[in-house]
Amino acid sequence: MQETGTKLGESKCPELLEAFPQAILSVDDYLGDLSVSVRAADIRPIVHFLKETPSQCYEFLMDLFGMDYEGYAREMPGRFAVVYGFYSYSRKARLRLKAFLTQHEIDSIHDIYKAANWFEREAFDMFGIHFKGHPNLKRILCHHEFKGHPLRKDFPSNNYQRLRTALPSTEL
């Protein structure tokens, strides 16, 4: 099952595998979703390749979010991952890129896709993942005085914090 998923996935993205043989950890095709796991260190060249290469041509960064695989049913290459959802309108193709982190940091891609700016802030807010080179890496959904990163698995869901001061306009 896992084997065929990998083979099927690899046949769907030969160019990516050829261009970054070292960076790619695994390829999977589960229920039609092509998913490629990569090393976090190589994220910028890979994302650049996906956007600019004519054979790839992923115009959309549809989604970007963090994942915490602590306690997950399957073995994963790391606890934290940043997941990128790419979509190519011209090729009607989707690609999910999972960058597994070794430290809590990864390069920002805000200058490659403008959409990444807020999505990276959200991943920082929810998981404490640091995006190197991001121009305004602050909390976006949680209150600025909030303690902790709520979507981490070790963060209790009933952790209430009383917060009331508004963010000064100079810090927006």
């Binding site: 589960y30 229920l31 989604d63 915490d68 999910r96 896709y113 959904l141 927006l172």
Partner: protein
């Protein structure tokens, strides 16, 4: 068509020390939700704009991890609360993909009808409040009269008007009540009148055109780069619609077309929404014509609740009911991304199961989040009143933006 007067002229910026710094919101009549917009004004021209969001953050993704798969559905109502049905459908589609099941044809058709009715009321709110913001109250009432009728239809199927929670994983809460389809046709029959009325009031209205044409435009390239989807993207000339590009629920079998405009401004977004409502009506009529009989739930007691006669009449039924309520559905471990065309664009759900009764992770891809991010770029150099007109046309729903 009338000539457009340019609402803003390129004017050299005055001394920065004379600029006025102003907070709009988080509670402001023109924001229709809790959004904080901080602007630096040079006279009436916006020179700089910063946004703060998160005022309506209710931890949707965290809460989902503490509930069973079906218990998440009421939370999805509160994402885009203007068209709750579409969130219900989008979420259960993701879970059904994970389970590898296909819902019966009748359920698919009913979901299509509900989604398209929701799209219509969502566009009613978008255009109606957009017009209110620029001072045209009449259109709002013309639309809201019909919107009430559609809410009556929703109330008849699920008991709720706004927060519907109508879908279930593997089916629906209930089948349609008797006579609902005739009632729906009657409501649909009244829609063209209100659409024509509003079109007559706005489309070639000098004031409306002056207030919206050329206001807050965005180029096709920027819209793609920012991840725009839905009417805002189609107003830039990109005919991307999930219903056409990746058809689900037989959308490719219905006869309808994608509405696009090229200008990418507030007026184009208005035209796209107006056109989409007429297309949605076409889809609903075809779905009503082709509504098969049969059950609405999949015949699998590990996914949908057994009929009440079985629960009270057989031990198997009782056990299946108990297991499903207490432990929930248990999809196999894995992760999928499922996406639908919601009123504001691509609504995506990335769901991860670890094989237990609760989601390991539910991630929503809210269309508003990507769109609202571009708001400062669209408004800098224009006036405050233009920004108000533009905000309405983006149809930012805070519930979906902040989750």
């Amino acid at each position: 068509m009338l000539e457009t007067i340019k609402t803003t002229e390129a004017r050299p910026a005055s001394d920065e020390s004379k600029w006025m710094r102003l907070n709009l919101g988080p509670s402001h009549p023109a924001t229709h939700g809790t959004l904080r917009v901080f602007v630096e004004l040079d006279g009436e021209i916006i020179r700089n704009m910063k946004l703060e969001i998160g005022y309506l953050h209710r931890c949707f993704e965290k809460m989902s991890e503490t509930h069973t798969w079906n218990q998440v559905i009421p939370y999805t109502d509160r994402l885009n609360y203007v068209s709750a049905m579409m969130n219900n459908v989008g979420y259960v589609m993701a879970v059904e993909k994970l389970l590898g099941i296909e819902v019966p044809k009748r359920t698919q058709r009913i979901r299509v009808i509900m989604c398209e009715l929701s799209r219509i009321i969502d566009h009613f709110v978008a255009i109606g409040t957009n017009a209110v913001d620029v001072g045209a109250l009449t259109c709002f009432w013309y639309f809201f009269r019909e919107r009430e009728n559609i809410y009556d239809l929703f109330e008849a199927v699920c008991g709720a008007r706004l927060t519907t929670s109508f879908t279930r994983v593997g089916g629906l809460y209930k089948d349609l009540p008797d006579g609902w389809t005739q009632w729906c046709r009657k409501v649909l029959g009244n829609l063209p009148r209100s659409l024509d009325d509003v079109e007559g009031l706005l489309t070639s209205n000098r004031i409306w055109i002056d207030r919206t044409r050329g206001v807050a435009p965005i180029s096709k390239e920027d819209a793609l780069d920012y991840g725009f989807t839905g009417p805002c993207l189609r107003a830039c000339g990109v005919p991307y619609d999930v219903r056409k590009a990746h058809p689900y629920y037989d959308y490719d079998k219905f006869d309808w077309s994608v509405v696009t405009e090229d200008e990418g401004d507030t007026y184009a977004r208005y035209l796209v929404r107006l056109g989409e409502m007429r297309e949605s009506m076409k889809i609903i009529e075809q779905a009503l014509d082709d509504l098969p009989d049969g059950p609405v739930n999949v015949d699998d007691w590990s996914i949908t609740l057994p009929p009440k006669e079985e629960v009270y009449g057989s031990i198997e039924g009782l056990m299946a009911h108990f297991k499903l309520i207490m432990h929930g559905i248990k999809p196999p471990a894995g992760e999928v991304y499922s996406y639908t065309e919601a009123a504001n664009g691509e609504l995506g759900f990335f769901v991860v199961s670890d094989g237990t009764g609760r989601p390991f992770r539910v991630r929503v891809r809210p269309p508003c989040f990507a769109i609202y991010q571009a708001f400062p770029q669209m408004c800098v150099g224009q006036t405050i009143s233009d920004a108000i007109a533009a905000l309405g046309s983006l149809n930012v729903v805070a519930g979906e933006l902040d989750r």
